[in-house]
Amino acid sequence: MLKYILRRLLQLIPTLFLVSVVVFLMVRIIPGDPITLLYGVSEGEGVSEETLDAMREQYGLNDPLIVQYLRWITGIFHGDLGTSILTHKTIATELGNRYHYTIILAIGGTVLGSFLGVIAGVIASTFHNKAGDNIVMVISMIAVSVPSFFLAMLLMLYFCLHLGVLPSLGMSTWRHAILPITTLGLGAIGMISRTTRSSMLDVINQDYTRTARAYGVSKTKIILAYAFKNAFIPVLTAIGLRFGSLLAGATMVETIFNIPGIGTFLVNSVNGRDYPAIQSTVLVLSCSFVIVNTFVDILYGFVDPRVKIK
């Protein structure tokens, strides 16, 4: 078991290496650089190329790419993610100040989405091809299709403006978390309910389910005790993926609700072409994404006895 986990973790290294190279090159290919942005153009006020160059020199942006890359990677191996050019704080501090917001949103969104999604999926499969199924599936189709920023706006309009019961800005109290978590949760319902439904249908149509029914076991017991347990495995994957992607920053939702999470930080960094901040944040995010996925894989071994880890 330990060996398996270790091997999985070792497999992360090439993935992260590739991510680091791609993101490093990508931020430098897009037009613009942090120094011209820092010095900026304001109502026609320019700044001389010499001034910009002196500043680039100071941040080591004139060095060959390979030197810059190695400096960054060496720093990471020494536990130094670098310093943001825009905020002049270390990126570790920035992420540390923000990660808990993103984690709250990710956990909240996943829990709410899984709870409602699984219930919806079970209902749909129980009423297969009847009105109940169709209603639930239409709703989940809508949930999948509506973009999160639009949903966020609708919720904001209704709960903040129309009813006036919830705040829409920031994350200072638990009441602030309700709407963003609801937005993320509703967005997750679609995928999770569909996975649950198809997986449940697979199991319900199996011979052993029919046999159990023939033995006179009640339908409710079959669905909850037998079918659901077996159908849950693919659902776990769906939930794990969802959690991983939410952890990687629910950027839209964070931006609209003005939550100082990782997603907002990444958007600001990209707008400011803050090379060190973009690179290190993307690396940390991909790291958490693959770790969550690995964790879900490992969890498989516990949930599904057929997947015995050797």
């Binding site: 650089d33 011209t36 109502e43 320019g46 001034t51 009441r175």
Partner: protein
């Protein structure tokens, strides 16, 4: 099963309702008449809280800092840290007498040493953003005694006092300059000024908190705390204002007509020093020819553009290359569309069938996308086939930052641009933007515009102390820039627009859109 599901749903809804209603607390104590904290939502953060480096805007800088002289609410220049001033017989030595007893936020008293250190930082350090700008008119600075400072200008400068109102002249603490160097103004700790508020907290791109400074030399301001939230999403700022989560907000101008009708909301519009329009890249093979630029100028129906796009906020068509609030402005009326003349000029220039060009658009300028689209359609009517290329802020800055003539990194024939005179004087509004520097590489002359007569007139006006003569020199230069050898299609003069709760009182900004905090309050 059904019961289980419905129980769960009911439980969820019940929890949601409790959560939703939970925050409304009823208090029996009477509220004070005015709020302690005013919350402002704005779309973007300041790049630096240091006037020497700030390129964002003037809005919040003067909450924290003061300068020798400032642009008052009436548009006139008034003493700020300087009580009085005089110019010597040589015309280049200006003496400023400082107020006594002005305190920095950390309790230190302001003396001439701080003023000298602030200007020395600009003059001696080319890495400072406005170093070139300020050393363009100031040669030397020295202290006569603790409360007297002399500025020596490079030559006779007619607009010196106006120049000193620019944000680059905000006075820093000499000790902080020493201590923080280039890091000054990037964190709350590194900021120490003499303004009405101290910067108590700053989380970049999220929030900025100002706390009233008890020892402010004009007397403590009425509102104890200002909380500035950076909310990048315009709809979120709008909802925050309408729900009362923020007291003051900057919203999209398309919402203005509706907000003007919304109870509880007031919309305020202020005259500014800014205009916007489509600037020519005179290094471009077609735009080199003044006849082509004139043809484009006559092909555009400016009145139609402004009536269509800006009438809801009342902005007007440009009648000069500078905004009417800039000293030196002369009214040339609206340039009328004349397609016949445009076609004739194109034919004369050798392009009877027109040509193809690309326009660069950074869409953050208000309605610049719509303006460009209308202009493209109008150009098509005289045979010029134009396409629009949209860039983001970083791409825009990078293109503008590359000042290597003739601009290999600058392939566009025209680009959307804002024009402003931070000092509200034509020396800044015209000479800085449109003159040719001796090396042909004026950092502010983005379109490589060059006209020898304009250069001569503007240089002469710079040193002309007789106001009437100076105004006439500007009139001649504006005639060339606006009509004869056009430098841009100047479309509209801009307003500074603020939306706020109708409980806000005493909100005031000057032509630079800098907030004056002295009377700002908000009723509970």
């Amino acid at each position: 099963m059904k019961r289980l599901v419905s129980t769960m749903l009911i439980a969820f809804l019940a929890v949601a309702f409790v959560f939703a209603g939970g925050g409304k607390e009823k208090s029996s104590a009477p509220l004070p008449e005015f709020k302690d904290t005013i919350t402002i939502a704005t779309g973007s953060d300041q790049n630096y809280m240091d006037g020497h480096m700030n390129v964002t805007n003037d809005v919040y800088l003067r909450a924290v800092y003061s300068q020798l002289v400032r642009r008052g609410l009436d548009g006139n220049i008034e003493g700020d840290l300087a009580e009085s001033w005089s110019v010597g017989d040589d015309g280049v030595t200006w003496t400023f007498n400082l107020r006594h007893g002005v305190k920095f936020h950390n309790g230190k008293e302001l003396t001439s040493a701080d003023v000298v250190a602030s200007y020395r930082r600009l003059l001696d350090n080319p890495s400072i953003r406005y170093s070139t700008l300020v050393s363009g008119y100031i040669k030397d600075v020295y202290a006569v005694d603790d409360y007297t400072v002399c500025l020596v200008t490079t030559e006779q400068i007619a607009s010196l006092l106006a120049n000193l109102t620019h944000r680059s002249n905000l006075i820093l603490d000499a000790d902080y300059i020493e201590k923080y160097g280039m890091e000054l103004g990037l964190t709350a700790e590194s900021v120490n000024g003499t303004g009405p508020y101290r910067l108590a907290y700053w989380d970049k791109d999220q929030e900025m908190v100002f706390e009233a400074f008890e020892d402010y030399f004009r007397g403590e301001v009425p509102t104890k705390k200002i909380d500035i939230l950076i909310v990048s999403d315009a709809n979120a700022r709008l909802i925050a204002l309408e729900t009362g989560q923020v007291d003051i907000s900057i919203v999209n101008t398309s919402e203005i007509p509706r907000l003007q009708q919304t109870p509880g909301i007031q919309v305020k519009m202020y005259e500014s020093i800014a205009s916007q329009g489509l600037q020519f890249n005179c290094a471009n093979e077609y735009m080199k020819d003044p006849r082509v630029r004139q043809a484009i100028s006559y092909a555009i129906d400016r009145q139609l553009i402004i009536d269509t796009l800006y009438s809801d906020i009342g902005e007007k068509v440009c009648t000069s290359p500078v905004n009417p609030n800039v000293w030196g402005y002369n009214d040339f009326g609206v340039i009328q569309q004349d397609q016949e003349k445009a076609r004739a000029l194109l034919a004369e220039a050798g392009y009877p069938d027109g040509f193809e060009i690309s326009i660069m658009l950074y869409p953050n300028y208000n309605k610049s996308t719509e303006t460009c689209e209308m202009i493209v359609a109008m150009l098509a009517e005289v045979g010029i086939r134009a396409t629009i290329e949209v860039v983001d802020n970083a791409g825009f800055n990078a293109s503008m930052g590359s000042r290597t003539y003739p601009g290999e990194r600058f392939p566009w024939a025209m680009f959307f641009m804002g024009f402003g005179a931070g000092t509200a004087d034509c020396d800044e509004g015209l000479r800085r933007i449109w003159t040719t520097s001796p090396d042909g590489n004026n950092n502010n002359n983005y379109g490589w515009y060059s006209n020898a007569e304009v250069d001569r007139l503007l240089e002469e006006a710079k040193a002309e102390l007789d106001e009437e003569k100076r105004l006439d020199l500007y009139r001649q230069a504006e005639q060339i820039l606006f009509i004869d050898d056009p430098a841009a299609i100047f479309t509209n003069d801009r307003y500074s627009i603020w939306t706020m709760s109708d409980k806000v009182e005493g909100f005031e900004v000057n032509v630079n859109n800098a907030i004056f905090w002295d009377n700002l309050r908000c009723r509970n």
